[in-house]
């Protein structure tokens, strides 16, 4: 299946002009982004409020952080369904530490460490024992969420210091242009990930591992090492997202971040990353994040209910894959006819 998939993608690149080949992978999410902005502006006079949209990016940064790390994991040919549960454990740890009087800096550091640790546990089962990542992280999805519930029970932790709460309300340039701090942090992390994937040996190893793990191993790439690092990065980002989310909400419950993994995976795939590995870019993921955000924000401002929002995102996810394939097919057909 992945084979045909790749072949169809190649056709787009061969058949089109160079510029088209370059933006080809991003085309679906760009189209979605533009369409959502148009829809939002037409359906609600309140949608095109730039500063409000900027502030609202705060809600998507957590998804974005998870999506960045998931991009690397998926390029490797793996998947991590446990990220949102990992986020909950990291947030719970941070909350309990703050409650017991530990300083917020130490607690935040502990959240990162716990996230990294849980990512390492995933890596241990998947890479160390050679088990499929889909099943292992399906299990740790339940396991980690259960751990968060055991840690917090039915309590909400609320005793965070005032100075820590509300990172999404801090804007970098004051009132002149309300660029929220989380957005800037996200873009910086995205840049780092982009450099990691495109300018380092690790990045190259990821693409090769995802394209053909055996071939990569034979050509001397430490595929086990590469995959394990990706899972740990994913855990680290879950910890970082936990800090952001906790600061935004000012409280922690064991069900925090429930279901974020599906949104994050949707973003990655919409951004053109091949779910079977070997292909994908950080830029694609970033554009897709803003596309999903535009879709959600335009629907919510038009008073569309939650389930319908989810369904629309589902349709877009599928269309984003089908339409380019269809276009490629039609083009192939017409070129064949021309040859005849």
């Amino acid at each position: 299946m992945s084979h045909t998939h790749a072949a169809a993608g190649d056709l787009v690149e061969v058949g089109g002009l160079p510029w088209r080949a370059r933006i080809g992978p991003y085309l679906p999410s760009l189209v979605v982004l533009v369409a959502a902005v148009v829809y939002g502006s037409v359906s609600s006079p309140y949608f095109l409020n730039f500063s409000a949209l900027l502030v609202n990016t705060g809600r998507y940064v957590e998804i974005g952080l998870l999506a960045l790390a998931l991009t690397v994991v998926i390029i490797n040919g793996d998947i991590d369904l446990s990220v949102a549960s990992n986020l909950a454990v990291s947030a719970a740890t941070m909350g309990l530490l703050v409650e017991s009087g530990v300083g917020i800096e130490v607690a935040a550091f502990a959240a990162l460490a716990v996230g990294l640790g849980l990512g390492a546990i995933n890596a241990l089962f998947i890479v160390g024992l050679g088990l499929p990542s889909l099943v292992v992280t399906l299990a740790t999805l339940a396991l980690y969420r259960g751990l968060a519930q055991i840690l917090l029970g039915d309590r909400a932790v609320t005793g965070y210091p005032e100075a820590f709460i509300g990172v999404d309300q801090i804007s970098l340039l004051g009132d002149w242009a309300r660029v929220p701090l989380p957005l800037v942090l996200f873009l910086v992390v995205a840049l780092l990930f982009s450099v990691l994937l495109t300018r380092t040996n690790f990045g190259l190893a990821c693409y090769l591992t995802g394209s053909n793990q055996q071939a990569a191993r034979f050509s001397g790439i430490k595929t086990d090492h590469t995959r394990a690092v990706a899972f740990m990065l994913c855990g680290l980002m879950a910890g970082a997202a936990a800090i952001m989310l906790t600061s935004r909400l000012g409280s922690t419950l064991s069900n925090v971040g429930l279901g974020l993994e599906l949104l994050a995976i949707t973003v990655v795939v919409l951004g053109g990353t091949d779910i079977f590995g070997g292909r994908g870019t950080i830029i694609g993921t970033v554009i897709a994040l803003f596309a999903v955000m535009a879709v959600r924000e335009s629907l919510v401002i038009s008073n569309v209910n939650g389930q319908v929002q989810d369904a629309v995102v589902g349709v877009i996810l599928i269309l984003a894959i089908i339409v380019p394939l269809t276009v490629a097919h039609l083009r192939e057909r017409s070129s064949q006819r021309r040859l005849r």
């Binding site: 039915d154 069900n255 919510v300 369904a311 269309l319 192939e332 057909r333």
Partner: protein
């Protein structure tokens, strides 16, 4: 030939997905229609504040829940007379943070007021405070946040007495003796937890019916299958169980359904809080003797009037303020927390259940 056919199927699939997409968008706009339609025919005797209609967004916990539909009904029946339009939007799940985008959207839409049935007491506070900063009236309905995050709160009945009431209700259906258990919603549900705590206090005080023993409290997570599993487990664990009390509409229906098909039907009583429409069947077949709730619509009516009053300046929320709700009567914002009790509990049994439809 094959190729041609496949392309055709691809195009057809893509087209059909696009149709689904259009259908989703289409229905969402038609959803708004019923809420807005009455406003356009708003009668002339609109309050002096009149002129442009008041725009109110009500955010229930989630959709498809007949209980919140009844609150919405109360809102919409009161709205035309108050020159008010009510927009109802809700998230897919009742998660702690799922309502936040809807609050933010209401702020962006510059509505006059937000009424919300919060899913979480703390996580929504920052967003609600931002709404208040933007000059939007914020009230909570059927559930509450910290008192400084909203101007007033409407609670269906006196929640501080509800724990005691649930114990007494159990005593009524069991004749005051035997083992009984709570089947609650999620373990994090703030309302249910406060009632459970109230019941514990009442029992600990020694004033509760002496023959009753509370043997367990289990959580069905407001999911029918989990609730049914838990109810079944209660029947198994406690062979002498006299009653299951489920203070949640999902839980009570699941427990009644399990019992109606169990040999223990008649031996074990199910009671608690449920809506008449979902429980009518079990009252009629004798599985359930009596259960209770309140009239959820009343909260919608009071909320609509309260918002109109605050906007017009006739009601200025303050501790122990008394105010008149037209057609309902005198109500009071009790205590520094400004909590308004909508009314008394309503009990349902075979004699009166057919008089209710919600």
């Amino acid at each position: 030939m094959r190729r041609v056919r496949r392309s055709a199927v691809l195009v057809a699939t893509a087209a059909s997905m696009a149709v689904v997409l259009a259908a989703c968008g289409g229905t969402s706009t038609s959803d708004e229609a019923p809420a807005e339609a009455p406003a356009e025919e708003a009668p002339a005797e609109a309050p002096a504040a009149g002129g442009e209609a008041l725009r109110v967004t009500y955010i229930p916990k989630n959709l498809g829940n007949p209980y919140f539909d009844a609150i919405v009904k109360g809102f919409q029946e009161a709205a035309p007379g108050l020159n008010m339009t009510v927009e109802v939007v809700a998230p897919a799940q009742a998660g702690a943070t799922d309502q936040i985008p809807f609050i933010d959207a209401a702020i962006q839409q510059q509505v006059d007021a937000i009424a919300i049935s919060p899913n979480d007491a703390d996580a929504l506070c920052p967003s609600l405070k931002r709404a208040a900063d933007a000059g939007i009236i914020v009230i909570t309905v059927n559930g509450d946040t910290a008192a400084d995050c909203r101007q007033a709160s409407i609670t269906p009945v006196d929640f501080s007495q509800l724990g005691k009431y649930l114990v007494d209700l159990t005593a009524q259906v069991t004749g005051g003796k035997g083992e009984w258990a709570f089947l609650s919603a999620t373990s994090t549900a703030p309302d249910q937890n406060s009632w459970l705590a109230g019941a514990d206090e009442y029992i600990a005080s020694g004033q509760s019916p002496a023959g009753l023993t509370l043997v367990d409290t289990v959580y069905g997570d407001d999911a029918p299958d989990k609730s049914a599993t838990e109810a079944q487990a209660l029947l198994t664990k406690y062979p002498n169980l006299a009653a299951i009390n489920a203070p949640t509409t999902v839980g009570i229906a699941a427990a009644a359904q399990v019992l109606s098909q169990s040999p223990k039907k008649g031996q074990v009583q199910v009671t608690g809080l449920g809506t008449p429409n979902q429980m009518r069947e079990f009252i009629k077949d004798g599985t359930v003797q009596k259960f209770a709730l309140w009239d959820p619509a009343l909260q919608g009516t009071i909320a609509a009037n309260l918002i109109a009053g605050i906007k017009a300046g006739t009601i200025a929320p303050a501790a122990d303020l008394e105010f008149e709700v037209p057609g309902v009567g005198q109500r009071v914002m009790a205590g520094a927390d400004r909590v308004i009790i909508a009314g008394p509990p309503q009990e349902f049994d075979a004699s009166n259940i057919d008089n209710f439809d919600f």
